[in-house]
Symmetry: C2
Subunit: 212 residues, 2 copies
């Protein structure tokens, strides 16, 4: 069924190499020449397989989102029974993943398209939309928590969502600036101290009551 000459390289492997390069240096600062070298193919093969640089980047972002390092936030939100456990896990996993030397530091979605020329503004807005969508997901989870009585009625889901988003984005930046897992874990712990407990629960306790 497969017509024509078959591809001589593995598309997923090549995409992973491109993802890593975009993750390291960002969209604009990564040239097609560097991409083809890292992917082990010639320019014409890249364009035949992926379209153009923008399309390749979008595929790289999608691949990153499916990888463990990119999917940990969504996974924590889906798997943890309470909002508090979900955000605690998110911050601690970010502290572990962002500075991990086995891959580029920080988060691709946060860092890969912050300095972009006018002609590539589309790439910048693509990542911006992803980030703002994530904030909305945070907000929705916190709204549910408030409806469940897990956080008090006085809690502001939108403000808390932006707060945790800011912490995560700051941790990504600091990981790129050389911060260690230890330091980022301290930041995560400090950030969780503001978690709004309902009035009838022990205030500001270091451990949640029903800890496993």
């Amino acid at each position: 069924m497969a017509r024509g000459r078959p591809r001589t390289f593995d598309r997923d492997t090549a995409l992973a190499a491109a993802t890593r390069l975009f993750w390291e240096r960002g969209y604009e600062a990564t040239s097609v020449g560097e991409l083809t070298e890292a992917m082990g193919i010639r320019p014409a093969s890249l364009y035949a397989a992926f379209g153009d640089k923008k399309s390749l980047f979008k595929e790289a972002v999608a691949a990153y989102g499916r990888s463990p390092e990119g999917a940990f936030v969504a996974r924590a939100l889906a798997e943890e029974p309470t909002a508090r456990k979900a955000f605690t896990r998110i911050l601690h996993e970010a502290a572990a993943i962002y500075p991990d030397p086995s891959h580029p530091a920080g988060c691709l979605v946060i860092t890969a398209a912050t300095n972009v020329a006018l002609k590539d503004a589309e790439v910048e807005t693509h990542l911006r939309d992803l980030r703002n969508t994530n904030l909305k997901t945070f907000e929705a989870r916190l709204r549910t928590a408030r409806a469940d009585g897990e956080v008090p009625a006085s809690a502001d889901p939108e403000a808390l969502a932006h707060y945790f988003g800011a912490i995560i984005q700051g941790m990504s930046q600091q990981a790129r600036d050389g911060a260690s897992r230890r330091t980022l874990t301290d930041v995560a712990d400090q950030a969780m101290r503001t978690w709004p407990e309902p009035a009838d629960s022990p205030r500001q306790s270091a451990k949640e009551p029903g800890s496993v």
Copy 2:
């Protein structure tokens, strides 16, 4: 005393225009052509007055640091009598300044050199060093506060410095993503709820006791 033909443009004004452009788009994504157009001069004049693009960028960073939008952190640390008042003011001023539409959003030092090609790595490390120096300044201020008994002995200055640094960097990013002053002020208030009060002071009070 001034020999030779005088400059036909104002150096500070031209530098301010360059600063604004670097602030908006970052180092790599701002071309010399865009710079000369915004500064109202020809390339040769730019190179005669500022050296090369890297030197111009470093001068732009220095000019940003002297401007109100870039100096507010150092000013708050110098002027406020307590660490708590200093950090409260820093976060609230960041919430006001970062999304202000009269200039590019966020902080130039945080955003202007995150995606940089290999040949310009020097620019990236220059801003990284500035950021890490700021963290050390935070840490020193918190260490003093601990010595003064303003924060308990159990407080960790390095961890708190990274925590506030992360909040500020996150607020800068969110301002660039469109967050309002209102939202960022909420983030600042939420962040200050983790401030470590000494054991004999009223815990988690919204206002510090000796407020002016």
